[in-house]
């Protein structure tokens, strides 16, 4: 037997060991991958306190400073809700918006620092990688939101257990959809510099056109039109109506959108974005 033959036989034996007994089955393998990619996101978040603090700074400024500052000027709504209470759901959505997109865009960071290649060269399904990333980014975003939720009593918002649960579920859904959206953006970006651009052209417009900071039902037509195109609008609407029972629904041509439709819209967008991001990850250039 030549060396090459010997090597080949040995190589083939090793291969059979790897595929039959040594390594996990396909499903377990992919499930563990999703978990691992998720776990990595959580570790990275918990190990960068600066990121946690800076992620909370802007929502708290809006809630505490802008809320308190505009309270006397705006006055209470017909339901007897202060301006601060009115924007609280909006600020929660805003915090999820910021941290979801930030998490997703860290893919660009991974690409620049090479870690993305370590993941892409591995024998795992691209769907697993994207799902793990979306789940991780979503969890991190919801953690940010929950920290803010703890502030509720301090600004005079009292919530019962069902409301808290409802808000939590909606934040989770919104975070998942926004991370998926962010991954699609990130897969089209080559460098971290474009991050500023995303903030200016995507995140801030999505915030200002979402109804987080003002009611959407008496706007000039052009503004009303833009806000209805914004998926974040439906997230803010659902969260607000769970937190403030009786708050007016967002309307489309005068028709009030039911909460279940809010949920369907966000969910559909999330799934579509997820599918798009898996596709762009499959592509090799």
């Amino acid at each position: 037997m030549t060396t090459a033959e010997a090597a080949d036989t040995a190589g083939a034996t090793a291969a059979s060991a790897a595929s039959s007994s040594g390594r996990d089955g396909r499903f377990v393998h992919n499930a563990r991958t999703v978990y691992m990619v998720w776990y990595r996101e959580i570790i990275r978040f918990l190990r960068s306190p600066a990121r946690i603090v800076s992620g909370l700074a802007q929502p708290i400024l809006f809630l505490v400073v802008l809320g308190a500052g505009l309270n006397p000027l705006v006055g209470d709504s017909s339901e007897g809700v202060t301006y601060q209470e009115f924007i609280f759901p909006g600020v929660l959505a805003m915090s999820v918006l910021f941290s979801s997109l930030f998490s997703a865009i860290s893919i660009v960071w991974d690409r620049e620092f090479g870690f993305l290649r370590e993941m892409l060269v591995a024998p795992v399904s691209r769907t697993g990688l994207v799902l793990g990333k979306a789940a991780g980014g979503g969890t991190v975003a919801v953690m940010q939101g929950v920290i803010l939720l703890v502030l509720a009593p301090f600004i005079g918002v009292s919530l019962d257990a069902f409301q808290v649960l409802g808000v939590f579920a909606l934040l989770l859904l919104l975070a998942f959809a926004l991370v998926a959206f962010g991954i699609v953006l990130a897969s089209r970006m080559q460098r971290m510099e474009s991050f500023q651009m995303v903030m200016a052209l995507v995140v801030n417009p999505m915030l200002f056109l979402s109804g987080a900071l003002f009611p959407l039902n008496d706007l000039p037509t052009w503004l009303a039109f833009l806000t209805r195109l914004n998926p974040a609008t439906y997230g803010v609407d659902a969260i607000r109506r769970v937190m403030i029972p009786g708050a007016p629904a967002v309307t489309i041509f005068g028709w009030p959108v039911p909460i279940w439709l809010d949920v369907v819209i966000i969910f559909t967008m999330g799934v579509a974005m997820l599918a798009m991001s898996v596709r762009s990850f499959r592509k090799v250039d």
């Binding site: 059979s16 390594r23 978990y35 591995a122 024998p123």
Partner: protein, 338 residues
Amino acid sequence: MWHLRRWSVPAYSKAIEVDGLVRRFGDFTAVDGISFDVEPGEFFGFLGPNGAGKTTSISILCTLLNPTAGSARVAGHDVVTERDAVRSSIGLVFQEITLDDYLTGEENLRFHAVLYGLRKEQVQERMPPLIEMVGLSDWVDKQVRFYSGGMQRRLEIARGLLHAPRVLFLDEPTIGLDPQTRTHIWDYIEDLRHRESTTMFLTTHYMDEAERCDRIAIIDRGRVVAIDTPDNLKASVGTDTVTITTDDEEAARVAIARELDVEGEHCSSGLRLRVPEGEKFVPRLFDTPGVGVQSVSVRRPSLDDVFIKYTGRDIRDAESDSVDQFKSSGMVQAFRKR
């Protein structure tokens, strides 16, 4: 499908088959029609100057980049149409660091193990000796951002070996490591290679590493310009290197060119001459008027010479250039003359 069990049928006859591979970036051709085969279990070296297209070729073989033309198979699988099969057969140590610096060393390894579908028992069995081999036992619990560059490099090598790939690609794996660590790591890699009959594909700028290869391909401007065993490549150079020092090397160079018809070149250690048979040339050198030899050394061709012959460049180009420049600068000259 019991009859198709791998151990009863050889899975592939070549570890790597490359056929007319081309990769363009815009109108720049980085890889320009390379073809070669690597046998299972072979240790194959891929040498070439900076920008020759080594990393680009590896990226194609590892499914990270599509070829513009041509085809390649790794472990019997096509790198474009059977990506998953290729991916599960290979390991890759990247040229640049690709660790997550917020994870600890151990977390980086565990992440890798999960991505490659290793079971917990396997990780328990393989990870500790690997960590020991790269000398990181005291560091695995610390975040990678606190590691030195060399430590990160060592962790990457351990990671590339963790899942016992059948074909291992090493893109300048030991760059920036001290000689002791390099020796240590190579001993381990060789041992592993023999135990697991891993096929290895190495790019390097270190000659002592290239010497270990069974065969070497030299690539320049995207083309394979030579491919053979290290011994045959050295034999193909056909000239020995005679290096002399004299009182006045420029005068000696002119005299030698005139009298013996040999074009010398200045280098850091004196005047370098390339001649077919070094020993027979030396006596003639002493007979040549106007040379005034102070010292002579004769050297058989090395892989450095092979590299220069086929690419026209020194293998440690950037490095040795700057050293040469430094040595011929005025200060060093003055210092030498004392």
